[in-house]
């Protein structure tokens, strides 16, 4: 049996204060599948993406669980090897195209960096690939764009450039972190279609982070609904929209604005639902004994014991 593209099992991450930002998150992304992560701000959607890509903030520590990329346990790898592996097989389509390109460098070299520096292609081949990709994301005059500085391009153009760069190395998995949030509404749809088309043609798996259920319905096959760093419901996209099982999912769907009835549809999530969620999370935390914390405590005791003996006499 082939290993799934991405398999996250019982992943927990904590802040220095000890509170958990991810609560035993498990999910599977099959090759060629778009898996959407939905939830409100602070639900831990982006955290999961960052954990996969290995760019969690330094204050966030993974205390438990595994992230397997095509069967390889990423955390078991030494840092450098992990970087090489994720560099070759994963990519990010970032949230804000305005800050995701280096303002002091021309677009071209920024796009070929990874191909040349990590995959070891020669410059000519990398150039040709990048030009072809710019063509695919429907940028006219790719030659000119490659010589531009990022500030000379519009937000939509920059996001196209970043999408092209993400697909350039033919990664197995792309993390798309709210790729349309920072864009103009008129551009959002085009960009979304572009990502979907390129994904379908290449069979790239995508972990699609968003808070927009409309986007989820359009692009993804599976959906995980997050609240408080915990997956409250995971389902196929059809099943989720047809019959959401969790009260929170239903509340989120009810809160989606509709043109037909804009006022009535702008409902906040019901307080009983939130109370239920809070209870669920408290329950999960009570049951949770971090293996890592236990290990460090016993290690600490082991380290202290000889010291205590010697200090006594």
């Amino acid at each position: 049996m082939r290993a799934p593209c991405l398999e996250i099992s019982a992943l927990s991450a904590t802040l220095p204060t000890g509170s958990r930002v991810l609560r035993s998150v498990s999910l599977v992304v099959e090759p060629g599948e778009v898996h959407a992560l939905v939830g409100e701000s602070g639900a831990g959607k982006s955290m999961i993406g960052k954990a996969v890509l290995g760019v969690l903030p330094t204050s966030v520590r993974i205390v438990e669980g595994q992230i397997r990329l095509e069967g390889t346990d990423l955390q078991a790898l030494p840092a450098k090897q992990r970087r090489r592996l994720t560099g070759a097989r994963t990519a990010l389509i970032p949230q804000d195209p305005l800050t995701a390109l280096n303002p002091s460098r021309r677009v071209g070299p920024q796009m070929t960096d990874r191909l040349v520096g990590i995959l070891g292609w020669d410059a000519g081949r990398a150039d040709a690939r990048v030009r072809q990709l710019l063509d695919e994301v429907r940028i006219r005059q790719p030659e000119r764009v490659l010589r531009c500085y990022p500030h000379e391009l519009s937000g939509g153009m920059r996001q196209r450039v970043l999408i092209a760069a993400a697909f350039a190395a033919e990664p197995r998995l792309i993390v798309a972190d709210e790729p349309t949030t920072a864009l103009d509404v008129t551009v959002q749809k085009q960009i979304l279609r572009l990502i979907a088309d390129m994904q379908r043609e290449r069979g790239t798996a995508i972990l699609f982070v968003t808070h927009d259920l409309g986007v989820v319905a359009k692009i993804s096959q599976r959906v995980s609904v997050l609240y408080g760093g915990k997956i409250v419901e995971e389902a196929d996209v059809g099943a989720l929209f047809a019959s959401p099982r969790h009260a929170y999912t239903r509340a989120l769907m009810a809160a989606t604005p509709r043109y037909t009835d804009p006022v009535a549809s702008l409902l906040p999530v019901d307080s009983t639902v939130l109370a239920g969620l809070a209870e669920e999370i408290a329950e999960a935390d009570r049951a949770w004994r971090p293996l890592a914390a236990q290990a460090t405590r016993s290690e600490l005791i082991a380290r202290l014991l000889p010291f205590r003996r010697s200090s006594r006499g």
């Binding site: 290995g54 560099g87 970032p94 460098r105 960096d113």
Partner: protein, 292 residues
């Protein structure tokens, strides 16, 4: 040096003065090139030996005043040496010190600042503490102390200025590198699989470079001033060698007989330092693709 407060990069950016052609600091560059050219070819261009005077022609005024002559266009000093020739040879020392000291301070300070700002953690803590301690010394007194220990001479002056002023680069570069480290494109480079050192050089450095260049130019001006201060208190290089600071010190004593002994070196010093800081501003604009 105390008279010039450290200029942060924010204050360097301002509207271009009207005499600047398309953002290029034409006038400062011409002034600096002229002084540099004259300093390099001092042996050919100086009309007289800067160290040999004759008491017979002491205190001759500049050529346009009564009693002056074109043989000594800017007059002579209290022992009859040609002021222009001394200015020219003084420029050689000023520029040598300015360039060498500023570059040394820049390399050391920028490297430490980049490392501290980008790597953070212990690197940052150690470097920042050293900078704090360093900045607690009054700079001019510190340099005088250093010269007293190292002995006078061109090398000592350069070393003293570099040893004192690297903190200026370190602080600015650290702050900039720190803000760079949080940018999304740095994260992208990490995701692409690049190591910290590669990212530092390729992603962080180009963004910090405009500030470094601006600061380098400014620092050259400051180094010229510090050299002048040190030679003013006779702690630069040997007393016979003409230095702008030394000329100012001598001119101060004869101010009532011969104002030109004081005024010409002062004007030269002023123009040089002003040009350096203007050049820095222009270069910063030139290096920054967004401002350009």
């Amino acid at each position: 040096m105390t008279a010039i407060t450290p200029v942060t990069t924010d204050t360097v950016v301002s509207a271009a003065p009207f005499w600047r052609l398309k953002g290029f600091p034409l006038i400062p560059v011409s002034i600096l090139l002229l002084i540099a050219f004259v300093a390099v070819f001092a042996d050919l261009l100086a009309p007289h030996d800067p160290q040999i005077g004759s008491l017979a022609r002491r205190f001759k005024p500049p050529f346009w005043l009564e009693g002056g002559s074109l043989a000594y266009p800017l007059g002579t000093d209290h022992v009859g040496r040609d002021v222009l020739s001394r200015l020219i040879f003084g420029g050689r020392i000023a520029f040598a010190v300015g360039f060498a000291a500023a570059i040394a301070a820049c390399v050391v300070g920028s490297a430490l600042g980049l490392a501290a700002g980008y790597f953070g953690g212990w690197t940052d803590r150690i470097v920042s503490r050293i900078v704090d301690v360093w900045m607690a010394f009054p700079p001019v007194l510190f340099s005088i102390l250093l010269i007293a220990v190292l002995g006078t001479g061109l090398g000592s002056v350069i070393l003293a200025i570099a040893v004192i002023d690297w903190t200026r680069f370190c602080r600015v570069v650290r702050a900039e590198a720190m803000s760079q480290a949080r940018m999304d494109y740095i994260e992208n480079a990490r995701i692409a699989g690049f190591g910290r050192f590669a990212i530092l050089l390729r992603e962080v450095l180009p963004n910090v470079l405009p500030s470094i260049v601006a600061l380098l130019s400014l620092e050259m001006g400051i180094a010229v001033i510090v050299e002048a201060i040190l030679s003013f208190v006779n702690l630069s290089i040997s007393t016979d060698d003409p230095t702008w600071g030394g000329m100012i010190a001598e001119g101060r004593l004869s101010i009532h007989q011969a104002w030109w002994m004081l005024v010409f070196p002062l004007i030269t010093l002023f123009l040089t330092v002003l040009s350096f800081s203007q050049l820095g501003e222009g270069l910063k604009t030139h290096f920054d693709p967004v401002l350009r």
